[in-house]
């Protein structure tokens, strides 16, 4: 992790994120809203976000070992992390994704 003193972000690599949601549930919607806001605010273009509805892809839930919903998987950069829940704890989310912000 690189310390940086500039305003917004910064991370070395592009973030590869997958958000697993279950249909149009309230928690799913909240998670989508939160991650989008967060990415727009802090990451600009330095991310790829895929949103997968496990209702439509149950096999993927199995293969990706999804237990909790919603679940945000950070595949890259390593280490892999799984963020479960609505992603409303912004500080925790940023920390877990390896995003450092400086005021």
């Amino acid at each position: 992790m690189k310390e940086n003193t500039t305003d917004v972000v910064i991370i070395e690599d592009k973030l590869e994120l997958t958000l697993y949601i279950s249909g149009m549930s309230q928690k799913s919607m909240e998670a989508i809203r939160n991650i989008k806001w967060l990415c727009d605010k802090h990451l600009k273009d330095a991310f790829e976000l895929e949103i997968i509805d496990i209702y439509k892809n149950p096999k993927l839930a199995l293969e990706q070992h999804i237990v909790f919903s919603p679940s945000l998987l950070k595949k890259l950069p390593l280490p892999k992390r799984t963020l479960v829940g609505t992603l409303s704890d912004t500080e925790k989310v940023l920390k877990s994704l390896g995003i450092t912000t400086e005021k």
Partner: protein
């Protein structure tokens, strides 16, 4: 499908031998069942057997959702029990889903639910048309998580969902300190709760099972011993056998013509049980051997359980008094099974016996002496076991003979084994070896014999090169 007689609650056979008897037909169909117990009590095996037997015996496909062991571990662990997970998987009868949660990779960032589990389960169930589901051990999902309240309500929802899905599910749970399971799952599974227990009493390990709760159904309320052996779990119901066996009117010989004459029928009924009591050295084993030989002569397979002598020694000793066990063994009419009573727990003895009964289908069984079994259990347990044993033998129409050692100074009417067996035995013969006029005299008395008149005299006898010979004439 067995029904509990009232037609209200449908049951699913458990696949665990003996358990259907206790539960009057099995688990509640389409409902979750909680199996709880401490570590190493056999929960996972219990669950696995329920699934595997469900597939092989009742053609009900099953899903095994493992929260602890990996599929390869499970496959390996149950291979020795003849559960071929790989084959069942290939036949699309079984699905194993390993729910692996990497705690170190997980962060809780808000509210969540367990839809992942629901979807995976649903997918697995639908893909093979499963009727049975195992969740082993769902509680481990709690470890390392912060939001317990949320998880609890999700698990409650999962159980409701399973019910709606109509699958019969086993949920295993680790025994908690003050509750049946660590997370109090028993609050959510209200239909059927079974507790497994593993404890050591007087250095002998025993496994027990108890049905804590079974809504809408009658069930046995005792603690039932169960065994884990190479064919899985079997429960031995103590009292579920009924008094409904057929009674034979055929008469068989005791092996001693003179003794036969003491009974008005000229012998004892087939499939009756004979108890022989006496102090040490009163020829109980010899009388038993005569009975065994008469069975062999009728060309009926005979099983001799010896708890005191090795087969070799027994054969040698009997040969000196003209009882040819050797030949009977060679003709495969006789099998002597010797073991130290304390080597195994009571239940295991019974299990070995039951196994041999199944394999050899003997027509005559001798247990010499049944009193040694008392050294390995408390009176209640021994009594319960003897009742079960006698019932089993009766049910299978086997002639049974038990010897029981009584001690000097202890009246035969005041001995715990005799106490336990005498009321169950159909014929009771008491042997004595007492001093009369500076001479020791052996004698025999028929204390009782159900369904026939019998001699009330004490008959003296001697032991010769041809076995027991009566010296007093037999008056009828």
């Amino acid at each position: 499908m067995p029904n509990n007689g009232m037609g209200t609650l449908l049951k699913t056979p458990t696949g665990i031998s003996g358990l259907d008897e206790i539960t009057n037909g099995g688990f509640p169909k389409g409902r979750p069942v909680l199996i709880c117990g401490s570590a190493g009590c056999g929960k996972t095996l219990f669950a696995a057997q329920f699934l595997v037997k469900g597939i092989t015996a009742y053609d009900e496909p099953g899903v095994f959702m493992s929260f602890e062991e990996s599929p390869s571990d499970l496959t390996q662990n149950f291979e020795s029990l003849g559960f071929d997970f790989e084959k069942l998987k290939a036949e699309k009868k079984l699905r194993i889903d390993h729910v692996r949660i990497e705690r170190s990779e997980i962060e809780e960032t808000g509210e969540y639910d367990l839809e992942g589990i629901f979807i995976r389960l649903n997918y697995a169930i639908d893909s093979i048309g499963a009727k049975r589901v195992v969740l082993d051990t769902i509680e481990s999902i709690f470890s390392g998580m912060e939001n317990m309240t949320l998880l609890r309500s999700e698990i409650r929802r999962l159980f409701t969902w399973l019910k709606e899905k109509g699958v019969t599910a086993i949920i295993t749970g680790e025994r908690g300190e003050s509750s049946l399971t660590r997370q109090g799952l028993e609050e959510y599974v209200s239909d059927c709760v079974i507790l497994l227990d593993f404890r050591v009493i007087e250095q002998i390990a025993t496994r027990r099972l108890r049905i804590v709760k079974y809504r809408g159904s009658t069930h046995g309320t005792n603690e039932y011993p169960f065994l884990i052996d190479e064919s899985g779990i079997s429960v031995l119901p103590v009292t579920s056998l009924k008094l409904d066996y057929k009674s034979s009117t055929e008469i068989i010989s005791t092996g001693l013509p003179a003794l036969d004459k003491s009974f008005s029928t000229g012998g004892v009924y087939r499939a009756s049980s004979i108890l022989i009591t006496g102090n040490a050295g009163t020829s109980k084993t010899i009388l038993a051997a005569h009975f065994a030989m008469s069975s062999c002569k009728r060309k009926e397979s005979t099983l001799f359980f010896s708890f005191e002598e090795s087969p070799d020694q027994l054969v040698r000793n009997m040969a000196t008094i003209g009882i040819d066990f050797e030949q009977a063994i060679q003709e495969k009419m006789l099998l002597i099974q010797a073991s130290r009573p304390s080597l195994q727990g009571l239940e295991l003895h019974l299990m070995v016996l039951n196994k041999l009964l199944e394999e050899l289908k003997p027509r005559t069984v001798i247990i010499d002496p049944i009193s040694s079994l008392i050294t390995i259990g408390n009176t209640n347990e021994v009594r319960a076991m003897l009742v079960r044993l006698m019932d089993t033998l009766k049910k299978k129409q086997v002639n049974a003979l038990f010897t029981s050692l009584t001690y000097d100074g202890q009246s035969e009417y005041n001995n715990s084994t005799v106490d336990a067996v005498s009321s169950l035995a159909d014929t009771w013969i008491d042997l004595k070896n007492e001093e009369r006029n500076y001479e020791r005299v052996r004698s025999l008395l028929i204390v009782k014999s159900r369904g026939m008149a019998h001699s009330n005299n004490r008959h003296d006898f001697i032991i010769t090169g041809k076995g027991i010979q009566f010296t007093t004439s037999n008056k009828k």
